[in-house]
Amino acid sequence: MTQPENAYTAAAEVAQVKTRRTWKQRAWMELKKAPPTAIFGMVVIFLYIFVAVFAPLLAPYGEAEIFAQPYAPWTSEHPFGTDQIGRDILTRLIYGARNTIGIALATTFLAFLIGVSLGLIAAINRSWLDQIISRGVDVLMAIPSLIFALMLLSIFGSSVWSLIIIIAVLDSTRVFRLTRAVAVNVAVMDYVEAATLRGEKLGWIMKREILPNIMPPLVAEFGLRFCFVFLTIASLSFLGLGIQPPTADWGTMVRETSNLIQFAGFDLKAGLTPLLPAAAIALLTVAVNFVVDWFLHKTSGLRE
């Protein structure tokens, strides 16, 4: 039989091959199309990171340097005045970025390490192990986390490490739930079965077959979780059990300068002082949320 001219060949089947682009080109293409809110968020986050990294260079004074006059007004010497024992507010705001963001970031990473690994194990196992972990998580989630954290911190003492570990464990419950929920859908796919039939170990299946396919929701959750952790740490500091002095921290600063707000009637600038660290917290939270929103929108394929 002679081959007709346009005979069938497997290689010529219709398929959509995408143009090869490096990740840099792709990132740039996406960035150009990003909405203004996302651009704003990214600029703000970048500024915060810049301040956190170069804090010692940017700050006019030392982190715990004490000046003679407590509660000094806003002057050229102390742009935002001084606090109750005479430390420069601007300096402490700058160092606060480093401490608060650093600790929140470390906590979020730890929470994800715990939550994602347990979530994947539960999703693949789906039997007694899944039951044990899931019910344990239910119990932890049934207790209001701020009160639980307060209790644990009073038991273990509030050092930076116990703060990180306690909040990470409490927050990992939510990460666990999300991971398990999305991984369960991937774990029933034929390619996971194919890997199981091949004889692959649990670690490979988790890392190579499932994890890459659930990354988008996890990355978005990372942003949101970071905000929550950041707010929890600030709340704990405000209550006096978070980051301890003399380490500068925004939550603690709000608490320490909060009584200045009563003097807003006499000196508006003094009244604004406790709002500065509060605004720093709020701005970062909003910025991260903007970026996460945009990212979720892109990855979930939602249109307007």
């Binding site: 497997a10 290689a11 089947e13 219709v14 398929a15 995408k18 039939l197 077959e209 396919n213």
Partner: protein, 537 residues
């Protein structure tokens, strides 16, 4: 019969584009289409040929991300391209209706069937509520649905897939449209159910003299349904002719190659050397629902055993027992004469390597984040310890064996066509150098011409490497093409096992007879003869 006044739909020089990868790509390139009142036009072609896109364009509709960039569409004198969305919506659902491939996805699970059947008819004021209801019941009965008086009171999940597809046809018929577009309405159904749906659709379309566009990739089906057939490829028309002419004298080479697909057939042989035997296996899910009853199957070395049966007959469960995913309640699976451990976890690497599996949906069988190189490379690394250059070279070698080339090395699954994906899955199985490959409906999601390619490839590999196949399918044409022996399964039991020629020639047990007679043939009179034959009984 073909006066110009009879023309219902006239599409001229249609161009449609889809947006992908940052640019507009042509999907339909200058196709003309003319449909007369009461005429049934069959649109056929492989996936990606633009059949569905063209069918939807007849309604003046495109999917999100697509646009009609040129041409004119006149439906009964109205210019569909220039109607407002509101005006189009009046036409959709009343004068042009649409029957989708997946009926289950097209019904709202929260409403009764009859309410959904008559919704647009009543909304547009074509009939009163009471009239429409009475009419719907007549349609149900015309479509041979059981209990036509009360079936409409059920919810979508309370009827079977074939019944739902017929209710959807009733829904499309209810406003007495001028045109119905059927988009692969029977592709998702078993052969035995498909015949019933085809019969019903034919009957009502004839009765009400409705024009229809019937989109499918199954030639035998289109031969039963259509007056004229139009063949599409790469968004362009290949040829159009009346059904009989097209079947007897196809003009273009491409059409001829489509027609030749069904002639594939290999001579049946058997061998005394049994590589895999399944003995008296009972299997159950969750120790409650017993799915397999006393199943015994033998697979001779280097041969193909096809397991056939409709959905729910226990075909795939048998595969699960063989692979060790579902340990049987009783019975034994033996490989090369030695018993295999029932549970996957206790099997050694050598046993795992020697039994490989290919899945029905190549889409879900490949990790969407891994390139073909990684997918095929993993078993090489895992079983044979190949690394770096040696692994790469072997992957390319495997790609060539499956008739692809090195340019596919770093493609992601989303950049492959359905047939190419299935070929990559075959390469992944081959990489392990197995003795047995279990093929679970590997061709049923593919177009016929692609199916033929895959089947030929599997046969070639069997000849070269002496691999044995356990081939699970519900498609008798595939079975005829590839198998040496056939096992017929029904309700979890083996009805019969034997050489292909013995099973396919009469006399048959009742079930085998029903299954075989339901397979559409290329003869345009086949359905009529079958209807006559079955009603005579």
């Amino acid at each position: 019969m073909t006066h110009d006044t009879d023309v219902l739909l006239k599409m001229q020089d249609i161009w449609i584009e889809g947006f992908a990868d940052e640019k507009w790509n042509p999907i339909i390139q200058g196709v003309d289409l003319t449909l007369h009142r009461g005429e049934v036009l069959g649109l056929i072609g492989e996936s990606g040929a633009g059949k569905s896109t063209l069918g939807k364009a007849a309604m003046g509709y495109t999917q999100p991300g697509c646009r009609i960039s040129g041409g004119t569409i006149h439906f009964d004198g109205q210019d569909m391209r220039h109607l407002s969305k509101r005006q189009k919506q009046h036409i959709w659902g009343t004068r042009i209706t649409y029957v989708a491939q997946s009926a289950a996805a097209s019904f709202n699970p929260a409403h009764r069937l009859i309410d959904q059947t008559i919704a647009s008819t009543v909304r547009e004021g074509i009939k009163s509520d009471a009239e429409a209801r009475a009419d719907a019941k007549e349609l149900y009965s015309a479509l041979s649905l059981p209990e036509p008086e009360t079936i409409g009171d059920r919810y979508p999940h309370q009827v079977s897939g074939g019944q739902l597809q017929r209710v959807m046809t009733a829904m499309a018929m209810s406003p007495r449209p001028d045109l119905i577009i059927f988009d692969e309405p029977t592709t998702a159904l078993d052969v035995t159910t498909q015949v019933e749906v085809l019969m019903s659709i034919r009957k009502v379309v004839d009765e009400f003299n409705t024009a229809a566009i019937y989109i499918t990739h199954d030639l035998a089906v289109v031969a039963q349904m259509a007056d004229t057939i139009k063949v599409l490829r790469y968004g362009e028309e290949v040829e159009e002719a009346t059904t009989r002419e097209m079947l007897s004298h196809p003009k273009e080479d491409y059409t001829k190659s489509l027609w030749s697909v069904r002639s594939l057939r290999k001579p049946a042989e058997t061998s005394e050397d049994i590589v895999l035997s399944i003995d008296n296996v009972d299997a159950a899910y969750g120790n409650k629902v017993q799915v397999l009853h006393d199943v015994t199957i033998r697979l001779p070395r280097g041969k193909t055993v096809a397991i056939v049966g409709e959905s729910g007959s226990g075909k795939s469960t048998t595969a699960k027992v063989v692979t060790g995913l579902l340990p049987p309640v009783s019975g034994q699976v033996s490989f090369n004469g030695e018993p295999l451990s029932a549970d996957l976890k206790n099997r050694n690497l050598d046993h795992l390597r020697r039994i490989q599996m290919i899945y029905q949906m190549a889409d879900t069988a490949m990790n969407p984040r891994q390139t073909t190189g990684e997918i095929i490379g993993r078993p090489l690394e895992f079983y044979h310890g190949l690394k770096g250059r040696a692994k790469e070279a072997r992957v390319v070698e495997l790609l060539e064996q499956i008739e692809l080339d090195a340019s596919f090395y770093d493609r992601l699954p989303s950049e492959l066509s359905g047939g190419q994906k299935q070929r990559i899955c075959i390469a992944r199985a081959l990489a392990a150098e197995p003795d047995i490959i279990i093929c679970d409906e590997v061709t049923s999601a593919l177009d016929q011409i692609v199916q033929e390619g895959i089947l030929k490839l599997l046969m070639k590999l069997q000849e070269e490497k002496g691999i044995s196949y356990l081939f699970i399918t519900h498609d008798i044409a595939t079975v005829e093409a590839i198998s040496d022996e056939i096992v017929v399964m029904y309700m979890g039991r083996v009805v019969e096992q034997g050489l292909k020629d013995d099973i396919l020639s009469p006399p048959h047990p009742d079930y085998t007879e029903l299954l075989l007679s339901s397979v559409p043939e290329m003869d345009p009179d086949w359905l009529d003869k079958l209807v006559a034959g079955r009603t005579a009984h």
